[in-house]
């Protein structure tokens, strides 16, 4: 395939560049251009490149990128089709650039947050001081569907619970990055970060060079070192595997990608069995002992003996082996309670409680209806707020105040009054935008984005991938960045520190 580095193609006449006429949405923070229309400091190089690119040149690059992704098989499966139809992850070639200073601060903040959540999980599945000290109401914690009381007293082999975290961040109109959600179970998306980078490297090498973009391609090496460090036995003599639900899982590409780039085996549950509390994989040479499992399956499908007696999925006896300290599961089971909606509002308090520090990264201000003052405010402002039931997911039990009918608001007024502990509320955040290629009109327009950085934690080591997955809501006016609902991704360029 012939690829053109358009960023180095000199323009003879000042042809219209794709960035001409770009206007951010009023009241929304744009990542490249400020509200006076001036390019932000860290975006100068990128803006310069885009101003020199015609729509034709950009469309050509975009088409090459899409072809390359299809040929490399960078796809996700769509669940609604039982045959597992694959779609290419939509990608916008215009990267999101993050300045070195902001990134350094974010890295510190993420490590602080993960350290806190790890201490919180150790405490919750151990002495439960957080309850005795009344930091979080006991009924909120113990009543969470994600809290697994049968794990209390078990210590994870290797000591780490959140080996791989994906923290979803958004930027509010005041320019502040805020945590929207912690993903501490099986966060996905890192393979797109690396694949997107391969494409931008091929298409925009000169611009990347000038900006000084930090590399992301050592993620697999960092991941396998992280996993090795938490082995229950000699790390250098340990067998590590990736456990996938199989080719029809929506993230199968990533499971395969990670196993391949770490040089370890990709296994399905039926390849594993437990004998005398040790885990083995069935190989052509007979059974081989397994020490660390990077599992990309949900808690409920780890071990039918432990979680779902009715299920045939999973590896019978795996939890026994884990409890006996014979195998490390990454991430540890039971982490869901720490990324629960009901716990989220308390994370800043947890940072202060466990570390005695102020939180470095902000989060979205949240009203906890269990608190009388918050409840009264929420009841008086339902039409402005997003109200969420803490024990529901996927948009159920949710009120979008600004779009809701009077009847819906009245219904939620009754519900919140009757059972305030079940509800939290937030203002709808105007997600920041990034210039995004719109294929239909062949123009560049602002589209809303979020950011999912990945944090690896091993024994005595933490590492933040300098970049992360920037997801973009490709539909005009949309706030939904999920790939299943018209979302795409962008490469995230983190500038190296100025030397």
């Amino acid at each position: 395939m012939v690829l053109i580095d358009s960023s180095t193609t000199p323009t003879r006449a000042p042809a219209p560049g794709v960035l001409d006429g770009y206007k951010p949405i009023p009241g929304t923070y744009d990542e490249l251009v400020d509200d006076k229309g001036a390019t932000r400091a860290h975006g100068q190089m990128l803006a310069g490149m885009l101003r020199n690119m015609s729509a034709d040149a950009f469309a050509r690059c975009q088409a090459l990128a899409e072809l390359s992704l299809a040929q490399r098989g960078v796809t996700f499966s769509v669940y609604s089709d039982s045959r597992g139809t694959e779609k290419v992850m939509p990608v916008c070639l215009i990267p999101r650039v993050m300045g070195a200073v902001e990134w350094a601060r974010l890295e510190k903040g993420l490590v602080q947050r993960l350290t806190t959540l790890q201490l919180f999980l150790d405490d919750l599945y151990g002495p439960q001081k957080v309850i005795a000290d009344r930091i979080i109401p006991a009924e909120l914690l113990l009543g969470s569907k994600q809290y697994l009381p049968q794990l209390r007293g078990m210590k994870p082999p290797g000591g780490v619970r959140i080996h791989i975290a994906g923290i979803d961040l958004i930027r509010s109109p005041d320019g502040v990055l805020r945590v929207l959600e912690d993903n501490l179970r099986t966060p996905s998306g890192v393979s797109y970060v690396i694949e997107n980078r391969l494409i931008t490297k091929r298409l925009f090498p000169a611009a990347m060079d000038r900006i000084g973009v930090r590399r992301v391609d050592d993620y697999p090496v960092q991941l396998v070192e992280t996993l090795r460090s938490v082995s229950p036995e000699d790390p250098d003599r340990s067998t590590i595997v990736v456990l996938t639900p199989g080719p029809f899982n929506s993230a199968y590409f990533e499971h395969s990608f990670l196993a391949r780039s770490m040089g370890i085996e990709l296994v399905e549950a039926s390849d594993l069995f437990v004998h005398g509390n040790e885990v083995f994989v069935r190989t052509t040479l007979g059974p081989r002992r397994v020490h660390v499992i990077y599992r990309r399956t949900d808690d409920a499908f780890i071990d039918p003996e432990f979680f779902r007696p009715d299920s045939l999925l999973g590896v019978p006896g795996l939890m026994r082996a884990w409890a006996a300290g014979k195998v490390t599961l990454a991430n540890a089971p039971g982490n869901g309670v720490a990324d629960d909606k009901a716990i989220y509002p308390y994370v800043p308090d947890l940072v202060r409680y466990y570390l005695g520090e102020d939180p470095i990264v902000e989060q979205v201000p949240t009203y906890i209806c269990a608190r009388p003052a918050d409840r009264d405010f929420v009841l008086g402002h339902l039409s402005e707020l997003v109200v969420k039931a803490v024990d529901e997911a996927g948009g159920y039990g949710m009120l979008m105040g600004p779009q809701a009918s009077a009847a819906e608001i009245a219904m939620f007024h009754d519900r919140v009054s009757a059972d305030p502990r079940r509800y939290i509320a937030q203002r709808r955040i105007e997600l920041s935008t990034s210039p995004t290629w719109v294929a239909d009109s062949r123009t560049v327009e602002p589209r809303r984005i979020d950011l999912r950085p990945f944090v690896l934690s091993g024994k005595g080591r933490s590492w933040v991938l300098p970049g992360g997955l920037t997801r973009v809501a490709l539909r005009p006016g949309s706030y939904v960045v999920n790939s299943s609902q018209g979302g795409g991704s962008k490469d995230t360029w983190v500038q190296a520190e100025a030397s």
């Binding site: 003599r237 190989t283 040479l285």
Partner: protein, 328 residues
């Protein structure tokens, strides 16, 4: 390596090889149908018979369809309901490659995926209408690329041995089936053994096995049924002969077994028996396209594949636990 993955490797090799040999057979039969003044039924029906799908084709499209070159080509190339159509072989190869991508590596995956994406594209469908030879050529080139990459990019280790074992076993069956076509063509056209037309058929079958030039060099142009059959059955230096493929398959099985791979003994015994049987046939001078003989080869190869698959996918709870060993 993981037993399930070993099974996938065998099947990947088989599907890729099957797509190639099917494309080649279609291309050659087209040429034969144009040149040889054979009735269309005598050309096309044997192709469907040796693929094992004759009753299904007749059931779906009627008995006369087997004499319709377009219908047969469409059925063997595209039909989703034909389990051995090129479409299904390419799709299965690509799905197999996708599920063992971390084992075969990126190059082989990309070549398989590109073949699949191209074959399912409108471009391929329209090329099929306007330049059909190019479609079959494209399939042959792409599958050859995949198999070439297997040998030139993969570690020469167990996964490659299993993959190549699949290729060799499929090729044994395909070569036997191709030879068997002669029997069916001759029966259908009521031809004498030594007619010129008979020679045209032998040469076509050589071409279908990529053996035309090698054969001509060996025989310096002396074409006879005995010579062609002898070449395709017994020539140990020709990489598509039964003897070569069987010996290579046996060598791979022995190497895998030597590396302590379990569950291969039954497949090895079957292949050894077939190899010995082939020796006997050669000594007895039975270098003739005997339908029963070739059917035996096809059946025995299928049985060897069956036992291989069964032992690789076994979920034996009695698998003995090894002593601690070095990490991989």
């Amino acid at each position: 390596m993981i037993s399930r993955v070993a099974d996938h490797c065998v099947w990947l090799g088989r599907y890729v090889e099957r797509a190639e040999s099917t494309a080649r057979l279609l291309q050659v039969t087209r040429t034969l149908a144009f040149d040889a003044e054979l009735p269309p039924m005598a050309c096309w029906r044997p192709l469907v018979i040796v693929s094992g799908q004759y009753p299904e084709l007749v059931g779906q499209l009627g008995a006369e369809s087997a004499g319709n070159g377009e219908a047969v080509q469409r059925y063997v190339t595209w039909a989703p309901e034909n389990p051995v159509s090129i479409r299904n072989s390419i799709r299965a190869a690509r799905e197999g490659a996708r599920s063992i991508r971390e084992v075969i590596g990126h190059d082989i995956w990309e070549a398989t995926n590109e073949l699949y994406l191209w074959f399912m594209s409108e471009g391929a469908a329209s090329q099929y209408l306007h330049d059909r030879d190019e479609v079959y050529r494209h399939i042959r080139r792409s599958t050859q690329l995949c198999l070439g990459l297997v040998r030139s990019t993969m570690l020469h280790d167990q996964p490659m041995d299993f993959l190549w074992l699949g290729v060799m076993l499929e090729r044994v069956g395909q070569t036997a089936r191709t030879l068997d076509m002669h029997h069916h063509i001759r029966t259908a056209a009521e031809l004498g053994q030594q007619s010129l037309l008979g020679n045209a058929i032998w040469l076509s079958l050589l071409r279908a096995c990529s053996g035309f030039e090698a054969f001509m060099r060996e025989q310096q142009g002396r074409v006879s049924g005995e010579a062609v059959v002898g070449f395709l059955l017994f020539e140990s230096r020709f990489p598509r002969s039964l003897r070569y493929c069987l010996k290579t398959a046996l060598g791979l099985v022995q190497r895998l077994a030597g590396a302590r791979t379990r569950g291969l003994s039954e497949a090895r015994e079957r292949l050894q028996a077939l190899d010995r049987w082939l020796d006997v046939q050669e000594k007895n001078g039975l270098a003739i396209s005997d339908h029963a003989l070739l059917t035996h080869v096809v059946d025995e190869t299928a049985a060897a594949c069956g036992t291989l698959q069964k032992s690789l996918s076994a979920r034996d709870p009695e698998m003995s636990i090894p002593q601690p060993e070095a990490a991989q």
